[in-house]
Amino acid sequence: MEVVFLTFILVLSIFLGFELISKVPATLHTPLMSGANAISGITLAGAFLAAGMVDSEMGKWLGTAAVAFATINVVGGYMVTDRMLGMFKSKSEGGK
């Protein structure tokens, strides 16, 4: 049952993703991609388990490396997206 349940979530989120993202205007496609990079850093939540719990030395190191890589995405992705989006100004905001 667990498998069916997870697949259910997968399918629904893919459809939801298609709906949401097809509404993003072309102007924002670069921030969309870097924002997506940040969200894919969600692996971090899984990496904690590996880095913090496993008894084996090897598993712990793999988990730690995963934590580092995922944090790069989370921190770097959100920061650079914010930096980019801050540049998009409308006329009224003085972006003449």
């Binding site: 989120s13 993003v24 670069t30 992705g77 409308s90 972006g95």
Partner: protein, 453 residues
């Protein structure tokens, strides 16, 4: 209330925040708040993940987060906007690597069912090929390696052998999954080689497609890792990213009038040449260009990757502002595949303080391009090539273009008479209403600006 229940409820909250964050990306006015909302969702997910039952030591976690956080923050602050494609390529790679490692580490966590073994394999396969593929894409984008397509005879055979190898080692691992299995290492190695093989046959001009696709893979890798460790939020967030990448890939392919298989498996350029073009180019001096600009009431800039290379976006914006004060209507028309990644030109112009209302899409400008007095083509070539519309023999025939040749006058800013990235001749340069402004784009535009001064 047990901790696991709270953690799972927090994941629901962060999923909602991710979704609203993406929804707010629908308009430049709300996008920045959307990104903040999304990052709040991530914070909640991270805190929930940290409280998970069974985490006994935090030293390694904190160490990993410090290292990753410092690298990420430094990269995000220091990167030039012209280098965003390289940056996103590297982020795709690190996302893939993280999922690969999570999948791999799961094997050390105790008993492994066949289902877990298969999902771990998927995480390793997708994550591994995303990692190496992205590194190659980075190399091509930054031109540390040759950006041309690498095609050799027997490439398909080699790729098929690698695929068979992946399937065999995957099967051998799944029947007897344990972390010391040699098949695991074979699989890992093959996945990484496959990532390299998948990206080398793709030329520099097709990079927007590749980055979008790798973006999608990095999400799918997170999905696979989510299945491996039974974690809902990884699946939800991973598939949102996967969907984003697939949509962008599709838009890029359509904008080049090519199928995804065509982009992925055939190098560009080895195709038939279009008709030879005869005619005369009409150069124009900076001074004459100034007189035309002075009289124009509707000016449209069409930027391409050349604008980024010449770092001309700031002077372009300055000229745009002068023209506006002179009473002209100014817009910037951006083709979906202009630049090296989706939306790249928009970011560069936004950085130069061009208000986003003036950034228009191809489908928006084309119907009213006849009313444009001057179209200024800066560093774009293939995306304004009329052969795509008229010459059935042209390799780019059928690709949607910005019809600058239908504007009253076209200025093409160009260093010299070389053909574009795809190596296709451009009849636009010989058009009746085309004037060539030869020289460095930045200097030419600065020249016009000083005439106005």
């Amino acid at each position: 209330m047990n901790i696991e229940l709270i953690a799972n409820l927090s994941y629901v909250v962060s999923a909602i925040l991710f979704i609203f964050g993406l929804k707010m990306l629908g308009s430049p006015a709300t996008a920045r708040r959307g990104n903040l909302l999304s990052s709040l969702g991530m914070l909640i997910a991270v805190v929930a993940g940290l409280t998970a039952e069974g985490i006994v030591s935090y030293e390694y976690i904190i160490g990993g987060m410090l290292i990753g956080g410092l690298i990420g923050a430094a990269a995000a602050r220091l990167v030039e906007m012209t280098s965003m494609p390289e940056m996103v390529a590297l982020f795709n790679g690190s996302g893939g690597a993280a999922s690969l490692l999570v999948g791999w580490a799961t094997l050390y966590g105790g008993d492994i069912s066949t289902f877990t073994a298969v999902t771990v394999l998927l995480a390793i396969l997708i994550g591994g090929m995303t990692f190496t593929g992205s590194l190659i894409a980075y190399g091509k984008l930054s031109e540390t390696i040759n950006s041309a397509a690498v095609v050799f005879t027997g490439q398909q055979v080699v790729n098929s052998l690698i695929l068979i190898g992946i399937l065999v080692s995957g099967y051998m691992f799944a029947v007897d999954p344990h972390p010391e299995s040699q098949w695991l290492y074979i699989m890992l190695g093959l996945a990484m080689v496959f990532g390299i093989m998948a990206v080398i046959p793709i030329g520099g001009a097709d990079m927007p497609v590749v980055i979008s696709l790798l973006n999608s893979y990095s999400g799918l890798a997170a999905c696979a890792a989510g299945f491996a460790i039974n974690n809902n939020i990884l699946i939800v967030a991973g598939s949102l990213v996967g969907a984003a990448g697939i949509i962008l890939t599709n838009i890029m392919c359509k904008a080049m009038n090519r199928s995804l298989t065509n982009v992925l498996f055939s190098g560009f350029g080895a195709v038939k040449q279009g008709k030879a073009i005869e005619g005369e180019v009409k150069p124009i001096s900076v001074e004459d260009a100034y007189y035309l600009f002075e009289a124009a009431s509707n000016v449209c800039f069409v930027p391409g990757y050349g604008m980024a290379v010449a770092q001309a976006q700031h002077v372009v914006k300055e000229l745009g502002e002068i023209l506006e004060n002179n009473g002209a209507e100014v817009s910037y028309a951006i083709h979906p595949v202009a630049g090296r990644m989706p939306g790249h030109m928009n970011v560069l112009l936004a950085e130069a303080d061009v208000p986003y209302e003036q950034l228009v899409e191809m489908d928006e400008i084309n119907p009213r391009i006849e009313n444009v007095d001057i179209c200024v083509v800066i560093g774009a070539n293939d995306v304004v090539n009329p052969s795509a519309r008229e010459d059935e023999d042209s390799p780019i025939y059928g690709m949607p273009i910005i019809n600058v040749d239908k504007a009253r006058t076209v200025f093409v800013l160009k260093r010299s008479m070389a053909s574009g990235f795809s190596g296709v001749d451009n009849p636009l340069f010989f058009g009746e209403n085309t004037r060539m402004l030869f020289g460095d784009a930045k200097e030419s535009i600065s020249g016009v600006i000083s005439e106005f001064g």
